[in-house]
Symmetry: C2
Subunit: 154 residues, 2 copies
Amino acid sequence: MKKTSFVSAAALALSFAMPASAQMSVEDQIEARQAAYQFMSWNMGKIKAQAVDGEVEFNADQMKAAANAIAAVANSGMGALYSPDSTLDKAENTRLKPEFFEQPEKAREVGMNFGREANKLQEVAASGDKAALARQFAAVGETCKACHDNFRAK
Amino acid sequence: MKKTSFVSAAALALSFAMPASAQMSVEDQIEARQAAYQFMSWNMGKIKAQAVDGEVEFNADQMKAAANAIAAVANSGMGALYSPDSTLDKAENTRLKPEFFEQPEKAREVGMNFGREANKLQEVAASGDKAALARQFAAVGETCKACHDNFRAK
């Protein structure tokens, strides 16, 4: 056992629902990736409400935080949460099509597009430009849709 | 209806599972906050595995991304996901104690401590110092534990 005296016993005693990717079961992968997208979706919803629909007053700081959250998801290494055994024909509680692994170049392309547009969203949100944020929100949304259309069952 | 011609129809057609906080039901609040913490937990698990336990090889870029994700959760305005009707005595699928609203100063204190330590985690991770990251991981863990001890049922 490694020396961990500098880490408090209390912190070590904390259990983390999601273990590191190296040890994750298919069930944990599915749960973790859905949690990540749900967290992202909540933050996309804030940008939609404030910058697109205008149903909530525009708050540049909140938009910046929301875009940071979306970019953080995009940059978090979500790929580790996808394994060939975690598709809908082999696992439960997922809509991931096996095509995700049968078309690796396409899967990589949609993933990279998402990352690029999410990072741009973070930049645009930092500028405080509401109209530009609405446009970039749409660009991110397109990359979400591309993955859903290709790799998520209805 | 507002003019949204600059936003593509495809993006507008996307449905977001989580609406903006202003319109969220108690059920949606509970689901969104649990997703956020689960996404955070996955990222805490990566730091634990690489910087604390050493069971996965240390990768500074991955640690930076994980800490960014944790800070993004902490800064995302999670407070909007807590309403007095969303405690365990009034809602399902939650362990949130009513004490969270009965002790607002304590709740604010634990929340602010979490935010402060999560932001520091992001700074420390950017430095690439493994030992410092392990120490700061413990500091963040303490703030998680403080909230669980005070406001989460066993």
